[in-house]
């Protein structure tokens, strides 16, 4: 008996304590070795270490969206760019002018502009890059924003042509664009990285389609931005960028940029805290201010805003009185407090923000008025909360959105007695004209151009994807005609802003959304990182100025 016990305790003792000791010893030794190795590396120069929230399988710069898009400006040049204050700067294009009533635009390419192998950026490269971005199979998510007004875009985008007929290249340094309709702000639409400038013969195959994996170092790709991609391992989720010696702009300060995929936000936060990383692609947590300080997520407010949109085609949202009641029943100060009590985003009452005309728009904020809301619901065709069908929210993903949606639901329960509410994280299966089973969509709207008209054309004009899919085929003729008028006015014409403001007021009377917040473009970098300010294109505005120190 005793012997059996001895045997038992000896074996457990061994397997637990000793193993633990051995394991700890080994891990400490390895850690010290690892830290030494890193110190040596750090002396080579300043390294920006970025934690990326996803193992992206596709880093092509031509997608016009997704997580990789946010680093496009690091390795690609754009025609022009906006700084973090919204001021436009020349880049590959040094000058632009329009003729024939803003229908034809002539752009001059910087004669010094070159790729990372030293070869010149020519008009053919610009044309080829835009053509390949417009091809459907390139799956560029936002090419329409840049190119939709270029003559021939509809044909290329719909798969029936391979060349944008509106682009001409009279010489190596000149691009002439003919539009299908006049657009006084066309030049502004180019100042982003949605369709960056690539070497056309590398990115575009004989058949006009994008060449698979053309952008990797293994394919011998050349880059137009301040850094070049020197290593990429998609399976491990790591990328390394080093300065491009032939970059035609200012010399980059960083010695290297390393991007590693860290999916879990809690882990990423501790890595940032411990100093192993000093930047993040997009880190949204409810405790980010407590964890990493107020500066980590701070940034300029950009013309993008987040709202809860009502699907006006869906019961009970087809009744304007129900919509008005639902909006009046929500205390939007509380909504902000429930979701982003510490910032960085700002509460907003309207769609427009951070564009000329947003501040004095004359948009009367929706009031918080529970009594009036109750009365309206009783007067509506549904007669009260019992007869309403279940209200389904989609796009409720992430802690802040969950908190906001649950706050709204609770306000409706308290103030109107509505209890049948459901929430789903994804929009996918529910969205789109053929699968409209949803009453409320949470999504953002915005523009890459500091212009009120293009902001509203992308959110409430009946042609916009937002109006068609999220607002349930919303169409207000007054809004449409005001915006159409406005879009023909010059950028500096006060009428342009005034008409847009009118359109937004007309939209207000339809009671179709619960305004939430105006988005801050967070820097997502620790205090030691300087010059990483981002712009309304969600890009680092001047990547050559990033420094770590």
């Amino acid at each position: 008996m005793t012997r059996r016990n001895d045997l038992g305790s000896a074996m457990t003792g061994m397997s637990r304590r000793e193993a633990l000791k051995l394991g700890l010893g080994a891990s400490v030794a390895l850690t010290i070795a690892g830290m030494n190795a890193r110190i040596v590396l750090a002396q080579e120069g300043q390294v920006l270490k970025v934690a990326n929230p996803a193992f992206n399988q596709d880093w092509s710069p031509l997608r016009g969206g997704g997580v990789p898009y946010r680093w496009n400006s690091v390795w690609w040049a754009s025609p022009m760019y906006f700084d973090s204050e919204g001021k436009i700067h020349p880049y590959v294009f040094t000058s632009w002018e329009s003729s024939e009533g803003d229908k034809v635009w002539t752009f001059k390419i910087d004669p010094k502009a070159a790729f990372s192998d030293g070869s010149k950026i020519t008009a053919e490269d610009v044309k080829g890059s835009w053509n390949v971005s417009a091809m459907p199979n390139t799956k560029n998510q936002r090419a329409d924003q840049v190119l939709s007004k270029v003559a021939g875009f509809a044909e290329v985008s719909g798969g029936s042509a391979k060349e944008l007929s509106g682009i001409a290249t009279p010489d190596e340094g000149t691009v002439v664009v003919t539009l299908s309709e006049a657009d006084p702000i066309f030049f502004m639409r180019l100042a982003n990285h949605i369709a960056p400038i690539t070497k056309a013969e590398q990115s575009r195959g004989e058949d006009g389609e994008e060449i698979a994996d053309w952008y990797t170092p293994d394919s011998g790709a050349v880059y137009s931005g301040p850094f070049k991609l020197t290593a990429i391992d998609i399976d491990a989720g790591t990328l390394t960028f080093e300065p491009n010696e032939n970059f035609f702009g200012p010399k980059p300060k960083l010695a290297r940029i390393e991007i590693s995929s860290i999916e879990d936000n809690v882990t990423a936060t501790s890595l940032l805290k411990s100093g192993e990383f000093n930047a993040h692609t997009e880190l949204v947590t409810s405790t980010i201010v407590q964890d990493l300080g107020p500066d980590f997520a701070s940034g300029p407010i950009i013309p993008t805003s987040q709202h809860f949109w009502f699907n006006t085609a869906r019961k009970p949202m087809d009744d304007p009185k129900v919509r008005e009641a639902l909006i009046r029943a929500v205390d939007r100060d509380g909504l902000m407090k429930a979701s982003f009590p510490d910032g960085p985003h700002k509460k907003t009452d309207q769609i427009l923000n951070s564009v000329p005309g947003a501040d004095n728009s004359g948009f009367e904020p929706y009031p918080y008025d529970p009594e009036g809301a109750k009365k309206l619901l009783a007067e509506s065709s549904y007669g009260g909360p019992e007869k309403l069908p279940k209200l389904l929210f989609v796009g409720v993903s992430g802690p802040a959105i969950e908190a906001a949606a649950q706050f709204i639901a609770e306000q409706w329960r308290q103030n109107l007695g509505i209890s049948a509410v459901d929430m789903k994280p994804q929009q996918d299966a529910y969205a789109g004209p053929d699968q409209n089973a949803v009453q409320i969509f949470r999504d953002d709207v915005g523009t890459r151009v500091p212009d009120a008209v293009s902001y509203l054309q992308g959110s409430i004009a009946s042609t916009s994807s937002n109006a068609q899919n999220k607002l349930g085929g919303y169409k207000n003729d007054k809004v449409d005609s005001l915006l159409k008028d406005a879009s023909t006015k010059a950028a500096d014409d006060p009428q342009r802003v005034a008409l847009a403001q009118e359109a937004q007021k007309a939209f207000r009377d339809d009671w179709a959304f619960i305004p939430w917040y105006a988005q801050a473009m967070s820097r997502w970098a620790t205090a030691e990182v300087k010059g990483i300010d981002k712009n309304l294109d969600w890009q680092v505005a001047k990547p050559w100025e990033i420094s770590v120190g």
Partner: protein, 318 residues
């Protein structure tokens, strides 16, 4: 033996085709179109242009009838072509080839760790049945069984950082001999260890009451010799039969462990493919998962008679 394996294989093929067709049909008719998802999933100002999306779907072959698409897929599969991911355009084979070894290595290590830890502990518990040591081991096993991997993982990881501030966050994959494998491995092994401790304990208790063990003890054979010589073999039998179950536990647990520790394995690939309704990837993973379970069941059937010769006829007859 060879013929037996071949038969099993032949039965497996129609089953997996059936399952794949069911999965494909569910994804195809319900889960949303992968091309539309690319555009709908993106925030705000994305250009949802119906003609453009139709053009993409057409060139990806998604507008053809379901049966035609599935037939086409199977035809390509027979020729060894897994197709390309609809979301990223990458070859599915390349994605699986990169992800599978990570998961397999992790699973193999977990099985080894489980066997090394759980069988001795189970035996110790049984030899001390109803004494304090037994309660401690059994209690810990039940406790481990009760903690989900997605709770244990983050807790251990952050606990480690808090306790040992100098240690790097154990995140990512560096291979089997990298220190970072430790935590995911431990978390992944929790449930299998608990399972095997209980199995071993029960089996040993049963064997201890058998006559030949009593005889050996009565003869004064040292306890450890009795344990190793007479008990280990019968004990291994139920353990081996649980291999399939362990495999399933590990495959399912791996999804959480891989997410929490950022391992680029099959589990993470699964979750990604499902959220994007990326059919070719989902189908490839179904195929692999099904293959794994089939193989581990086959192994059980082959190993079982070796361990317990009495069972040969009964087991084979099925």
């Amino acid at each position: 033996m060879l013929r037996y394996v071949a038969t099993r294989f032949a039965i497996w093929i129609p089953s997996v085709l059936l399952v794949m067709m069911a999965v494909y049909a569910l994804a195809f008719y319900g889960a949303g179109d992968p091309i539309k998802l690319i555009f709908l999933r993106a925030p705000g100002d994305v250009a949802y242009n119906p003609e453009r999306i139709e053009a993409i779907r057409e060139s990806a072959g998604l507008n053809r009838p379901f049966i035609e698409q599935f037939g086409y897929y199977v035809w390509n599969l027979i020729q060894g072509d897994f197709g390309n991911s609809l979301t990223s355009g990458r070859s599915v084979w390349a994605m699986v080839k990169a992800a599978a070894p990570v998961s397999f290595k992790l699973a193999l290590c977990a099985i080894v760790l489980t066997a090394l830890v759980a069988i001795p502990l189970g035996m110790i518990a049984a030899l001390n049945q109803n004494r304090r040591l037994d309660y401690i081991i059994l209690g810990s096993a039940l406790f481990l069984w009760a903690i989900p991997a997605y709770v244990a993982g983050p807790l251990l990881m952050v606990g480690l950082i808090v306790l040992l501030p100098g240690v790097n966050v154990p995140y990512g994959w560096g291979g089997v001999f990298d220190i970072r494998i430790l935590l995911p491995l431990i978390v992944l092994s929790f449930q299998p260890i608990a399972l095997i401790i209980r199995q071993t304990r029960a089996a040993v208790i049963e064997v201890l009451s058998e006559d030949f063990v009593r005889t050996a003890r009565a003869k004064g054979v040292p306890e450890i010799v009795v344990a190793l010589k007479h008990i280990l073999r019968p004990v291994l039998t139920p353990v081996v039969t649980q291999l399939g179950l362990i495999m399933i536990t590990i495959v399912n647990g791996a999804i959480f462990v891989e997410l929490v520790f950022g391992l680029p394995g099959l589990g993470r690939l699964t979750v990604k493919a499902l959220t994007n309704s990326d059919y070719p990837v989902i189908l490839a993973i179904t195929l692999i998962g099904s293959f794994l379970v089939m193989i581990s069941n086959l192994l059980v059937d082959i190993l079982y008679p070796l361990l317990d010769p009495r069972a040969t006829d009964a087991k084979r007859s099925r």
